[in-house]
């Protein structure tokens, strides 16, 4: 993949930088069939199936410019259930933003009771993709 320039990667103004880290932007979505499930349904009466069990690991480290602070990063919560589990983080250390997610989709044929955790894991991954990181550029004064 060709490297992306800053201008393509982020929206940069005098006051803020807004971007979605590449690896959590649902890139390679076609390989992650769980992302095509509609998560509106609150409960399921019948079994449901996915292509296969899946272990998704997403990691990215982004070096930040000096004098930025975090305005917004998506709030994500770790969870685990009979159908799926999700562990994710956004951290800033040494002027680097680290983002990661570890998702396990544990079955191919799921039971109705698995829907809650399956749905929550998919929604968490989508939240990371849909809610961009916002960094505030600190003024020099």
């Amino acid at each position: 993949m060709a490297p992306r320039s800053d201008q393509e990667y982020a929206i940069i103004t005098k006051e803020e930088i807004i971007f979605t880290p590449l690896v959590v932007s649902n890139i390679f979505k076609r390989a992650m069939s769980h992302l095509y499930f509609k998560t509106d349904l609150e409960e399921r009466k019948y079994n449901f199936r996915d292509r296969c069990t899946m272990h998704v690991q997403l990691y990215e480290t982004i070096a930040l410019p000096d004098s930025v602070s975090v305005e917004y990063i998506p709030a994500i919560t770790d969870m685990s259930g009979t159908g799926a589990s999700f562990k994710g983080y956004f951290t800033i250390e040494d002027n680097k933003l680290k983002v990661g997610a570890n998702l396990k989709f544990k079955k191919r044929i799921y039971k109705p009771d698995d829907w809650g955790s399956f749905r929550e894991a998919v929604a968490s991954q989508n939240r990371m993709a849909n809610e961009p990181v916002i960094l505030r550029i600190e003024s020099e004064n």
Partner: protein
């Protein structure tokens, strides 16, 4: 085993000290020979020989491990002359007896009338890297099986070819019409023993490209077409078939009576009859060469509940005529492959139906699928042969439809960050799903995408509903407030799903080897004025981005003027195909158009 997907972006950039070798093709055809012979007694012989070297495991595990030969045992005799594999060390492995298995061709499954067809599966034994497959067979066809002597030969294959010889032999008194498309190669003409032989030799042919969005009829590739018919004779052959007597039985009349009772007007009756044929009669995807280019009688097609596209087009015309609606079947050929001197029936890409209601505009409909608009808007660059023996009309559609999509809107964002407003949408030609709208006017709600959905539409008014143009006024109120991220708010600009959204082109590779076919040309305009509360500021303005090329333009402007945001987005693409030389310009235009930051408003409180 759990499938693992691991995506990591590395901060370091490694310089590549070694440039990897260019991958070889999966296989190389050393030679292909195709010999077509029309004998004095009208019977035909086809001789095929191939010699192919395998370069990768993929080539023999997926591509060339088996050869499939379809034939009709009632009229044709298949003889395998040679099937051997020469391994890397020179050892010759002949195909064993159990390497020849006859099966039903997949396309004939669930098509009882074609269940006599057979597919010989030749399994090549002893395959390994650098092995060479040689296969030689002949098919003898009895006199009377095919109407005339013809074939449409694509020169390229899925692997490169060192030499391809196509020889066509006809009795010296027989006229042969032929043409090589997209390549300058002429035949060597030999005469002996009362036969004339046209021998074409092609050398160094590249493999087919696997790029997306190539011309869908493969009409950009080199091909050799020949026939002893001219176009008019071929059209006559199709038109003179007994099936075109358009007779019906009582069952068909009863089905039509039901439709007549249910239909409010002529247009609705026409579409219901089409739906009956597309949805309730199976489509047999049998290539016309295996149905001998013949159609069964419509009554037989109706009773068997299935037919080929040609048969279904005649059935549809039969039902229309019985209902008192004038209609004719049409055979469709890509215009750049159409030559009035050559009547090769394999070149017909589709069979449609032309309907001429006495009080309405002409309609072109498919007998195999319902469509949301008159197919005339999809037939630019195609030639239509009317299948009526008394008037063999030929129409070439050269119209360039603009397929305009225009959306204007005035919206208000209130202090609760909820949107309300009005949007007016005007859609033309292919972008106008006219038949869907007249069937159910609420379909217009589904045309709106982006930040608005059908749930947000409070009311709509159909201002104009015609085949060429439909105009709709929407009044909307978004139920939810905009997503709030630390007082940053995000709103996707509304769009029409029937314009470029319908292309489904989200990413274009920077490199391109073949011409790019656009699903359909479009001229798409969005003009919005959005009133804001006082303390809201636009974070991502875009000032006058403009790219103009030979085949179109893109203009984007998103600016805040006091308490209003003025949005202008325009994309015009006026061609169906983009040559390789212009692809970079096209990609630049489309990348700008698709860029999320120009399709979304980011607001700050």
């Amino acid at each position: 085993m759990m499938k693992n997907i691991l995506v990591v972006v590395l901060a370091s950039v490694f310089s590549l000290g070694v440039i990897a070798q260019q991958p070889r093709s999966d296989a190389t055809y050393e030679q292909i020979i195709k010999e077509y012979t029309l004998n004095e007694d009208g019977s035909m012989d086809f001789h095929y020989y191939k010699k192919i070297e395998l370069n990768t495991h993929y080539s023999f595990n997926r591509l060339y491990g088996e050869t499939f030969i379809v034939y009709d045992p009632n009229y044709q005799e298949l003889k395998i002359n040679k099937a051997i594999v020469t391994q890397k060390d020179g050892k010759v492995v002949p195909s064993p007896e159990n390497a020849f298995n006859e099966v039903l061709p997949r396309f004939a499954a669930n098509a009882p009338y074609f269940n006599h067809l057979r597919e010989m599966v030749v399994t090549h034994a002893g395959l390994e890297l650098e092995a060479v497959i040689e296969l030689d067979y002949t098919i003898h066809t009895k006199n009377g099986f095919y109407p005339e002597f013809m074939a449409d030969n694509l020169i390229t294959e899925s692997s490169p070819i060192m030499e391809k010889i196509i020889s066509i032999k006809v009795p010296a008194n027989k006229n042969l019409h032929y043409r090589v498309f997209n390549l300058r190669t002429g035949p060597e003409i030999l005469e002996s023993e009362g036969f004339k032989e046209y021998k074409f030799t092609f050398k160094g042919i590249k493999e087919m490209s696997h790029e997306y969005y190539q011309p869908h009829n493969q009409n950009h590739l080199p091909r050799l077409v020949f026939s002893t018919y001219n176009l008019s004779e071929a059209q006559q052959f199709l038109s003179n078939q007994e099936a075109l007597n358009y007779k019906v039985d009582k069952d068909m009349q009863d089905a039509l009576s039901e439709i007549k009772e249910d239909s409010v007007d002529m247009r609705s009756r026409i579409l219901k009859i089409q739906k009956l044929v597309t949805d309730e009669i199976n489509t047999y995807k049998v290539p016309p060469v295996y149905s001998r280019y013949l159609a069964r009688h419509p009554i037989d097609v109706w009773k068997s509940n299935g037919g080929t596209p040609f048969e279904k087009s005649i059935l549809l015309v039969t039902l229309f005529r019985e209902a008192g609606i004038h209609a004719e079947p049409l055979a469709i050929i890509p215009t750049n492959l159409c030559d009035e001197n050559i009547g090769c029936l394999d070149q017909i890409s589709k069979y449609y139906v032309q309907v001429n209601p006495y009080d309405d505009k002409q309609m072109i409909l498919s007998p195999t699928e319902t469509t949301e608009q008159n197919l005339i808007y999809s037939l630019t660059g195609h030639t239509m042969l009317e299948l009526n023996p008394s008037k063999l009309n030929v129409f070439a559609n050269t119209e360039n439809y603009e397929n305009q999509v225009s959306m204007t809107g005035e919206m208000i964002l209130d202090s609760n960050m909820k949107f309300t407003g009005n949007v007016e949408l005007t859609i033309f030609e292919k972008a106008n799903p006219h038949y869907k709208i007249i069937e159910d006017s609420s379909h217009v709600k589904k045309l709106i995408g982006g930040g608005l959905s059908k749930e947000d539409i409070k009311s709509f008014e159909l201002i104009n509903c015609a085949q060429v143009r439909s105009s709709i006024k929407y009044n909307f109120e978004k139920k939810d407030s905009l997503r709030n991220q630390s007082n940053y708010f995000f709103f996707d600009l509304p769009n029409c799903k029937n314009g470029t959204e319908n292309w489904h082109i989200n990413y274009l590779n920077p490199n391109r080897d073949t011409e790019f076919e656009i699903p359909f040309p479009v001229s798409e305009h969005y003009d919005f004025t959005i009133m804001l509360p006082e303390d809201i500021k636009l974070v991502n303005p875009a000032e006058n981005i403009e790219v103009i090329s030979d085949f179109g333009e893109v203009i984007i402007s998103i600016v805040q003027e006091e308490n209003a945001i003025v949005v202008k987005r325009m994309l015009r693409v006026s061609t169906n195909t983009v040559p390789v030389s212009s692809f970079a310009d096209f990609k630049e235009m489309l990348d700008i158009w698709n860029d999320k930051k120009y399709r979304e408003l980011i607001l700050k409180k």
